[in-house]
Symmetry: C2
Subunit: 463 residues, 2 copies
């Protein structure tokens, strides 16, 4: 039936499915078929039939997700959105952009800047991830500190419901309180409520200039203090990033940048806005850093020097990837005040399980990225990793934090969901899912754990 | 049963109910009982019993709502939250505040400023409205242009579900993608999904300084152009407000401030941030205003002069209230680029129905406040008002706008809901409501129209 309607847009040969069994997270699951969709009508047709025959549908963009959002846990159809034509229309007078789901996020950045505007969300994957995936997972990024995350810039959506109906939510006005906010409900819903086929995004005037401040700290406590002192001094930086000692060492090993490696944290701050303000704020940040025991406190004198400073942060991922073949990348998030305590917990976990655990991330908003480097083929080590990941989740929750700051729950964190939300919280979310998708065809196995499911990193489908 | 449990916290004498039959909107509806609640446990008890006996429950703060959110359309219990102890706890290191529902919004402003922080949402009613009401309606305000609305500052909620369970949503981290975003679903849900009993709000560093620019424009077109030129020049003002000629005349009549009255619009801009930036931005805004034909372009030289300029905007409401006894205050919102066209439509509607229609509001985000001054006792006039209000809604939707920017749908705008959202959009919202509140006890008659309901301003309950 679907084959008939979709023709060559549907493939089901094992060889064609191979590339769809994994993404940037753990686990492997084969879909039974892949449908290449490139317009709303096609999505609607697929969902209508899938709903009738109760076949799971998992949407997929570029497969860069870190929580398994695009893994077809229960088989069925993978909806490949990547061939949908990219499209960014800027409406400068309304300060909005209308985008198609397969548009790379970086393309939106480029197009907005042509009009002196900015689309602030900047997940580290923005050069390779699609806005559709960003919307489904509510992607964050370094600029979240000052500018918020993807959700904060979504004004309206076109969505195909699990039953195949086309719905328009929100609109193109900045203020809109007409009815329940299903726009923000859909953003970050990890594909379990429908397929986003178009989005209207809010843009803001692009800040005139920016400046970087770099500093090293002997302890995480002082680095944390530098953050709160800055934020209560009337300055809201665009970014406050950090890398720990292990990351700094890995980067120096990978490509020597002259980073200090005998310190606990390197902090990178970016302030943006009006040139005079930026200059003065950078000076204030430097003073705060120095006062709190920061060393190597400096601002770049040229653009090249600035890029070089940020290179330290950007090289962390490729640098640590050389340590061991497998990487468990987490995004447990704690209230800002708890960052130093969380860092102590992470050190304890590293010690207890004798693992290669490094930490970097968004210091300003408490969104840490503990990464465990391991070898998936080493079963004994993998078990220690699983235990360590579990303890990271528990620590974050104990400190008043959350399981996921920006990657999504997906399938790996779902066994811990009830611990954070309580049974009522999970039940109320399930009611929404059930009412929108009574046949549970939309991306089943995500957010809510399957019965008896526990954390297994190397989980695999049956095929 | 409820009487037994609540004792003297429940009243049902006609005289006690009198004050609960109206709010700041149209229509009159008596509740059958009022329960004064002052803690989560009491709310939970009331909802559990109300759900069992299928009795409608309508929450009420200070009764300042402009869309009838706190009118007990279907009778039942009014839950008076106003005696709940006010409470604002500031956690400066986390940049969050925890507040009780009956706290006046202005108290949050005051407490946050003690720590050099700011809670940005600033509905004009902030001195008399509670945060609980702001949360239920997703209140906006002038600063929405730069800083967003209530929803953008809510990190977590404590909520009593329609069945009486206590649920905690979100948390106190800036980034949180754990599960479906029921926090943002609840904010602006107009009390139909549960009762908010506590909220964790995001604070930001308070901008160091601010400056006002005032200008008058001969036409709305040029005023609109001044807005988009400013916003694409790299400047994002905190506020861009306007009042039309009729408002300016009413204010001059009420309290002579020396406003120009032979122009189509007076625009008030506030830029905030770093002192040097603010000064330069104010100068740039002045240049833009002058270049686009603005007259009387000026900045205040003292704080008193600045207050006096904003007085022009603040006196609009009391000034126009003297024109006629009844006021239909709307908040239809259009994309920024459509503001001049919408103003022409509003002038046509004023002409067609021969009404006293004045316009002011938030020019920067397209959130207009057309106000029709009339006399509720004049049935013939009221019918013209109803037709005019209907046409205002239609115009806003035609121009790609929305029925409500910041007041809520309530009961008056609900007959127009499907026109904006389409049948699928309304259906998906109703499914959420139905799944959370199967007995439809939470604030029934709001957002979704009753069967056959049409716009009647002077709608009254049976009692």
């Amino acid at each position: 039936m679907l084959q008939e309607k979709m023709g060559h847009h549907l493939v089901s040969a094992r060889s064609d499915l191979d590339a769809y069994r994994y993404d940037a997270s753990f686990g492997e699951f084969f879909p039974e078929a892949v449908v290449y969709v490139s317009n709303t009508e096609m999505v609607s047709q697929v969902l209508e039939i899938a709903n009738e025959y109760k076949v799971p549908v998992t949407p997929r963009g570029q497969g860069t997700g870190l929580s398994g959002g695009d893994l077809p846990i229960h088989g069925g159809i993978t909806l490949d959105m990547s061939q949908w034509p990219a499209s960014v229309e800027i409406f400068p007078d309304d300060l909005v952009a209308r985008v198609s789901p397969a548009t790379l996020t970086s393309e939106i950045h480029v197009e907005a800047e042509k009009y002196g505007l900015m689309y602030p969300p900047d997940p580290s994957s923005s050069n390779i991830s699609t806005i559709g995936g960003n919307l489904a997972e509510n992607a964050g990024g370094p600029r979240g500190l000052k500018y918020g995350v993807t959700k904060d810039y979504v004004l309206g959506l076109e969505v195909v419901t699990p039953e195949g109906d086309v719905m328009h939510t929100g609109g193109r006005t900045i203020k809109n309180v007409t009815g329940l906010d299903v726009t923000k409900l859909l953003v970050g819903s990890e594909g379990i409520l429908g397929i986003i086929t178009s989005a209207t995004l809010k843009l803001i005037p692009k800040p005139a200039t920016k400046q970087t401040v770099m500093a090293a700290f002997p302890t995480m406590e002082t680095a944390g203090e530098a953050v709160s002192t800055t934020l209560t001094s009337g300055i809201l930086p665009a970014k406050m990033e950090f890398i720990d000692q292990a990351c700094a060492r890995a980067v120096e090993e990978y490509e020597p940048l002259g980073l200090p490696t005998d310190i606990e944290a390197i902090v990178l701050v970016e302030v943006d806005g009006h040139p005079t303000a930026v200059q003065e704020e950078a000076e204030t940040v430097m003073k705060i850093m120095k006062k709190l025991g920061g060393t190597f406190v400096s601002v770049p004198r040229t653009k090249e020097e600035a890029l070089n400073m940020w290179k330290a942060r950007m090289l962390v991922s490729p640098a640590i990837a050389t340590i061991k073949p497998t990487r468990a990348s987490e995004d447990a998030t704690v209230p800002r005040s708890q960052i130093p305590v969380m860092m102590v917990h992470l050190a304890d976990i590293r010690e207890k399980y004798q693992l290669s655990l490094v930490v970097f991330g968004h210091l300003g908003d408490g969104n840490l990225h503990p990464n465990i480097l391991c070898d998936e083929r080493d079963k004994e080590e993998l078990e220690r990793v699983e235990k360590a990941v579990g303890e990271i989740f528990h620590s974050a929750l104990e400190l008043g934090g959350t399981l996921s700051g920006e990657h999504g729950i997906g399938t790996m964190k779902s066994p811990f969901l009830e611990k954070e939300l309580g049974p009522v919280g999970v039940d109320m979310m399930k009611r929404v899912k059930q009412s929108w998708d009574p046949n549970n065809i939309m991306n089943p196995g995500k957010i809510f754990p399957d019965k008896g499911q526990r954390l297994i990193l190397s989980r695999r489908g049956e095929k």
